[in-house]
C-alpha cells in the first residue's frame, strides 16, 4: 500500500490511521448495523403485538423510564448497595481463599486434609445457602456477604491449586540449583508463577459473585439492583425490569474489567488475557 515510514511522528500518524481503520472498518459497520436491527425488531415486536416477545417492554418505554430513573437517588443507591455486597464478599473470599489455595497447592498433606471438605461443600450452590445464611448470621447484610463470599471462594481456591500444582518442575529445579532456600522458592518462584491463576480465579469469581448477589437480593433483601429488578416486576413497572437487567450487566462488566486491568498490571510478562 504505502512505504513503511520509520520516523516517530509518522509512527503516531499511522497508529491513528490504524485506529480509524479499525473503528470505521466493515466489521464495525456490520456490528453497528446488527445492533440497530436488533433494536428495531425489539421495538417493532412490541408495537405489532408479537406473541411472547411482544410482551417485553420496548426500547422506547425503557428509554423513557431511564430518563426518569437516572435522577432518582434510590436507583444509584441500589448500585452502591449491590457493589458493596459484591466487593465485600469478593474481598473476603480473596483474603481467605488465596492463602488457603496456595497452601493447598504446595503442601500435599494440607491439601489431602482440606480437599475432601471443600469438595463436599462446593457443589452446594451459593443460593441454596441463602436460607441457612439468613438464619445464622446476625444481620441481613452479613448473610448477603456470606453468600457472595461463597460464590467467589471456591473458584479462587480451585484455580490457585491448579496453578500452583502445574508449575513446570524445571523452574523449581533451576531455582534450587541456583541456591534458593524455601522462602525464595515461595516468594520468587511459586507466587509469581501462580499469579496468573489467581487473577483468573478472581475474574471468574467476580462474575459468579454478581450472579449470586442478584439472585440473593431477589430472595432475601430489600435493597440493591437485584431487589430493584424483582420489585419492578412485583409492582408492574416492567420497563424498570429491563433497566435493572442492563444495570446488572454493566456493573458486572465493569467489575470484571477492573479485575482484568489489575491482573494485567501485576502480570506484565503475559499477553493480555
Amino acid at each position: 500500500m504505502g512505504v513503511q515510514q520509520n520516523t516517530a511522528v509518522s509512527g503516531k500518524k499511522s497508529n491513528l490511521r490504524k485506529l480509524r481503520k479499525t473503528v470505521l472498518s466493515k466489521t464495525t459497520y456490520r456490528g453497528i448495523l446488527a445492533v440497530i436491527i436488533f433494536f428495531i425488531c425489539w421495538e417493532a415486536s412490541s408495537r405489532l403485538h408479537f406473541p411472547i416477545v411482544g410482551e417485553i417492554p420496548p426500547p422506547s418505554s425503557v428509554l423513557k423510564a431511564m430518563q426518569k430513573i437516572v435522577g432518582d437517588a434510590g436507583f444509584w443507591k441500589s448500585w452502591l448497595v449491590s457493589f458493596k455486597r459484591v466487593f465485600s464478599g469478593f474481598i473476603v473470599a480473596q483474603i481467605i481463599g488465596i492463602p488457603l489455595g496456595l497452601l493447598m497447592g504446595i503442601n500435599r498433606i494440607f491439601r489431602e486434609l482440606m480437599f475432601p471438605g471443600i469438595e463436599i461443600l462446593r457443589p452446594i450452590p451459593p443460593l441454596a445457602w441463602v436460607p441457612t445464611a439468613v438464619i445464622f448470621w446476625p444481620t441481613a447484610e452479613m448473610s448477603m456477604t456470606f453468600v457472595t463470599f461463597l460464590g467467589a471462594f471456591f473458584t479462587v481456591v480451585l484455580n490457585i491449586i491448579g496453578g500452583a500444582r502445574s508449575i513446570d518442575v524445571r523452574y523449581l529445579r533451576a531455582a534450587y540449583s541456583l541456591g534458593s532456600r524455601r522462602r525464595d522458592i515461595f516468594f520468587r518462584i511459586v507466587l509469581p508463577a501462580t499469579l496468573p491463576s489467581i487473577f483468573v480465579g478472581m475474574a471468574v469469581g467476580m462474575g459468579i459473585t454478581w450472579e449470586v448477589v442478584v439472585a440473593a437480593e431477589m430472595i432475601a433483601s430489600r435493597s440493591g439492583l437485584g431487589f430493584l429488578t424483582w420489585q419492578s416486576y412485583v409492582a408492574g413497572n416492567y420497563p424498570v425490569i429491563v433497566i435493572g437487567m442492563i444495570s446488572i450487566g454493566v456493573a458486572g462488566f465493569l467489575s470484571s474489567s477492573l479485575i482484568r486491568l489489575i491482573g494485567n498490571f501485576f502480570t506484565p510478562w503475559r499477553k493480555v488475557i
Binding site: 524445571r170 529445579r173 533451576a174 531455582a175 540449583s177 541456583l178 509469581p192 510478562w269
Partner: protein, 300 residues
C-alpha cells in the same frame, strides 16, 4: 580498576584450565516404575567427566541422557552406584553444577536481567554493585544488553539460550551441563549458538558436559566424546577428539573429523539398529537419519 584486574586473572585461570569439577559416575543404575512395569534406563553406567574439558554425550533419543544429567545435577538419585564431584558424593542440587535445559527454563515473570542475577541474589554472596557489574559484563558479552529489561517471551529462541547460558555462567559453577540446548533452533541460529558456546568454553575452560543427538555438533564441540548405547544405557565408547582449539567450522571438512564421524556413526548405527529391532520408534528415526548421513559421507 578492580574490574580489569578480575578479568585478567580470569583469563589466566582460563589458560591454565579449571582445577576442579571432575565428576565420576560409577556403576550407576536407574529404573523408572515399580515391579513388573519397571523400566531400566541406566544399567551399570560408568564414565568420568574430566576437569577443564568439554565432554559430549551422544546417543539416540530417549536413551537416558536426560536421566544422566538429572542424576549429575542432583535432581534424581541413582538406584545404585555412586556419583561424585571432586571426590565428594553428590547430594542434591547446588550451584556447583548448573544445567541449561532443552526447553528454556528462564523464569517468565522476571526480566532477562533479573533472571541472570537470580542465583547471585538469592545466595547473597556479593554486593549489589558487584552483582550489577558482573551481570552487565556478561550481558554485553552475549549481546543481550539492550534486551536486559525484556521478558523471556519477548526474546527469540537464540537469545533465550544465551540468557540461560549467562544465568548459569555468572555463578561460576564447577560444572556446566547442557541438555540438548540447541535443539529446536533453526540451522543458522544453531550454528551461531554452537560458535558462541564453544568460544565461551575456550575462554573459561571450565568443566562442561554437553548432551546432544547431533553428530556434527558433538564432534565440533568436544574434547571427549562419549557414545551411549540404547536402553538400558551404558557408555559404548569414548573418543578423544584431538582437533585443535579454537575450533573453526572449516575443520568439519578435515580428514580427522571425518574419521571421528565414521567411528561414531558406526556405533550409533549399531545401537539404532538394536533399538529398531526392539521396537523403539524414536531411536529408529535417529537410525534412519544417521544411516542417510553415513551414505552421504561415504559417497564423498
Amino acid at each position: 580498576m578492580v574490574d580489569n584486574g578480575r578479568k585478567a586473572s580470569d583469563i589466566k585461570a582460563a589458560n591454565t584450565g579449571s582445577s576442579t569439577g571432575e565428576m565420576n559416575f560409577l556403576s550407576v543404575s536407574k529404573s523408572y516404575g515399580v515391579g513388573p512395569l519397571s523400566q531400566p534406563v541406566l544399567e551399570d553406567c560408568s564414565f568420568t567427566i574430566e576437569r577443564g574439558k568439554l565432554t559430549v554425550l551422544i546417543g539416540p533419543s530417549g536413551c537416558g541422557k536426560t536421566t544422566i544429567i538429572n542424576i549429575l545435577a542432583g535432581y534424581e538419585n541413582p538406584d545404585s552406584g555412586s556419583v561424585t564431584l571432586d571426590g565428594s558424593p553428590v547430594q542434591g542440587p547446588g550451584k556447583d553444577r548448573l544445567v541449561v535445559f532443552q526447553e528454556t527454563a528462564l523464569f517468565p515473570w522476571m526480566t532477562t536481567y533479573q533472571n541472570v542475577i537470580y542465583g547471585l541474589k538469592v545466595r547473597k554472596e556479593m554486593s549489589r554493585k558487584e552483582l550489577e557489574s558482573r551481570a552487565m559484563d556478561l550481558l554485553i558479552k552475549v549481546g543481550l544488553l539492550e534486551f536486559k529489561d525484556k521478558y523471556p517471551t519477548q526474546l527469540s529462541g537464540g537469545m533465550q539460550r544465551r540468557a540461560e547460558l549467562i544465568r548459569a555462567l555468572i555463578n561460576n559453577p564447577k560444572v556446566m551441563m547442557m541438555d540438548e540446548p540447541f535443539r529446536g533452533l533453526d540451522a543458522m541460529t544453531r550454528e551461531l549458538m554452537q560458535e558462541y558456546y564453544v568460544r565461551l568454553f575456550e575462554e573459561n575452560r571450565g568443566t562442561n558436559l554437553f548432551v546432544t543427538s547431533e553428530i556434527e555438533e558433538a564432534i565440533f564441540l568436544s574434547d571427549r566424546l562419549l557414545i551411549m548405547s540404547n536402553r538400558p544405557a551404558k557408555i559404548r565408547k569414548t573418543i578423544e577428539v584431538n582437533l585443535p582449539r579454537p575450533r573453526e567450522f572449516h575443520m568439519l571438512t578435515s580428514l580427522e573429523y571425518l574419521n571421528y564421524k565414521r567411528e561414531a556413526l558406526e556405533i550409533l548405527h549399531e545401537e539404532a539398529m538394536k533399538a529398531f529391532a526392539s521396537g523403539s520408534k524414536i531411536a529408529a528415526v535417529d537410525f534412519l537419519e544417521a544411516y542417510s548421513e553415513r551414505q552421504a559421507s561415504s559417497e564423498n
